[in-house]
């Protein structure tokens, strides 16, 4: 621990990333004060199960990261159900909505993101998913049967489609782009996902704009109407930056940070869904990542940085999505690649490797059973982190063990 380590750390946001900062600080021996402030009334919990297990499992269960006893044991002052009203940077204090003031030496913004809504007529009829309460509402709807229409064919939309099908609902997915998973997933993998959803009986409408919602239908721009008793919008999330903006911090698609996740105020860090930062593995390209793994990694990184670690945040971006018994995993940035090598693993499982113009591996993705793709994507992630230049022919050949390329 460096000599100028902070004495008091305040963390705004008690989701995966904020909770991880607190836990990692203690794991690394930090003995100062830690306050963890969450606007939700629940103890810190994992969000990935909200679209899946929290809906389909027989018993609803909050996927908690740790309960009150665990954080008490860690000596973390957890304050739940209270928002932070303001940051006074000159005084280095935050003021909570309940009037309490907390001083800090270092402040961490882990404020997350909020589900985007569509600014269209009847939007109030549609549900979104971000919190445990949202998941409970969807759980109840899916279990009461009826038809479900989901606007948005991204990760959340497709995971909810799979969960609704599992519970026996008829499901339609409406996507404005010409294909599913357009934003983050290469077309070959998106096509496999689409085929699987169609095989499961999901109606998929691509290239279709939505002009509004009736209480019982999605109204398409072309005049079509998709009737449903449950309407859902899954069109991504927007970073939660109101507090940062009000405090005069630089904000640009999230809290603008440097390669060490420091905001424009060196005493304030940001991590998780809300941070916009340059990534050293990708020529300093600025990224904002909405993913469990990044929430975890960037939280753990900020804890190290607060204790004086002299390194940039270089964790390889990594996403996963579970749909039915298939798994989609992406490591690195597929769109940073100039060429693609594909490896067919059989049984509908496919791996893609994305190489930059100089032959460096910059992204990899897979679709298939977890047991077929997970370890290969993990190895690809390690190759990406090492800035490796594996031969395209070796990547494409199922007989070549990826481990041998490390």
């Amino acid at each position: 621990m460096s000599a100028d380590a902070p004495r008091r750390v305040v963390i705004v946001g008690a989701g995966e990333s904020g909770a991880r900062v607190a836990i990692a600080l203690r794991e690394q021996g930090f003995g100062g004060e830690i306050a963890l402030i969450g606007a939700e009334s629940h103890p810190p919990y994992e969000r990935p199960p909200l679209s899946k297990a929290a809906i389909v499992e027989a018993e609803a269960r909050l996927p908690a990261i740790g309960d009150a006893a665990r954080f008490a044991e860690l000596g973390v002052d957890v304050r739940l159900g209270v928002a932070v009203a303001a940051i006074d940077r000159a005084e280095r204090r935050v003021r909570l909505a309940d009037g309490v003031g907390l001083g800090y030496d270092k402040l961490v913004l882990a404020t997350g993101a909020k589900a985007r809504h569509l600014p269209i007529a009847g939007a109030e009829h549609a549900l979104t998913l971000r919190s445990y309460e949202d998941a409970l509402k969807l759980r109840e709807r899916f279990r009461s049967g009826g038809r479900v229409a989901i606007v948005g064919g991204g990760f959340i939309g497709l995971e909810l489609a799979a969960s609704a099908r599992k519970l026996g609902c008829d499901v339609a997915v409406i996507e404005a782009a010409p294909r599913l998973l357009q934003r983050a997933v290469p077309p070959e993998l998106g096509a496999l996902a689409e085929a699987r959803h169609r095989a499961e009986g999901v109606e998929i409408v691509t290239g279709a704009g939505v002009q509004g919602f009736a209480p019982d239908a999605v109204l398409l721009s072309g005049g079509g109407r998709i009737p449903a008793s449950t309407l859902i919008v899954g069109v991504g999330a927007a970073p939660e930056t109101a507090l940062a903006e009000a405090a005069g911090l630089a904000v640009e698609n999230g809290v603008r940070a440097d390669a060490r996740l420091r905001s424009s105020d060196p005493d304030i860090y940001a991590c998780g869904d809300c941070v916009h930062f340059p990534h050293g593995l990708f020529d300093g390209r600025r990224l904002r990542l909405e993913a469990w793994r990044h929430a975890f990694d960037s939280g753990a990184y900020v804890a190290r940085a607060l204790l004086g670690a002299d390194e940039d945040y270089l964790a390889v971006p990594w996403f996963w999505s579970d749909q039915y018994d298939a798994c989609l995993q992406i490591a690195g940035l597929p769109d940073a690649g100039a060429t693609t090598a594909s490896r067919d693993l059989g049984e509908g499982a496919l791996l893609l490797f994305h190489l930059a113009a100089d032959g460096r591996l910059v992204g990899a993705g897979g679709w298939g059973p977890l047991g077929k793709i997970a370890r290969e994507i993990r190895l690809a992630e390690m190759l990406i982190a090492r800035r490796a230049h594996p031969a395209a022919a070796a990547l494409a050949d199922p007989a070549v063990r990826l481990k041998s390329l490390l």
């Binding site: 991880r20 836990i23 990692a24 794991e27 990261i65 469990w292 793994r293 975890f296 753990a300 996963w320 977890l370 047991g371 997970a374 370890r375 993990r378 190895l379 481990k403």
Partner: protein, 105 residues
């Protein structure tokens, strides 16, 4: 401790520095082989979210869960850091006549 050894698989069924799932008696186990051909066994499911560890990656004597990258030393079952904090149960293993056997009770 009983002296009943369960026949799990052929020694060659587990690749070098790799892991194999083995189900027996309503439970699932993970069998490991190190690069220097030592064999180990642990519970088959990650203590964090009930994911099959046999779908994960073995590096040295570490098994990494395919879902959240929780790590365990499979020779001892020790959890090696977040997000896993509960150790894995381990089981005695022996190789006899080219077969891997484990003692589950």
């Amino acid at each position: 401790m009983s002296d009943i050894w369960i026949d799990a698989c052929a020694a060659d069924d587990v690749e070098s520095e790799d892991v194999l799932r083995f189900d027996h008696g309503g439970k699932t186990y993970a069998l490991y082989r190190t690069e220097d051909d030592r064999y180990f066994a642990t519970d088959g499911l990650c203590t964090h979210e009930k994911i099959h560890l046999a779908d994960g990656l073995v590096m040295g004597t570490i098994i990494e869960c395919p879902k959240h990258n929780g790590r365990f030393d499979f020779t001892t079952g020790a959890a090696k850091g977040a997000p896993v904090c509960v150790n894995l149960a381990t089981y005695a293993v022996k190789v006899e006549g080219g077969r891997v056997k484990l003692r589950v009770a």
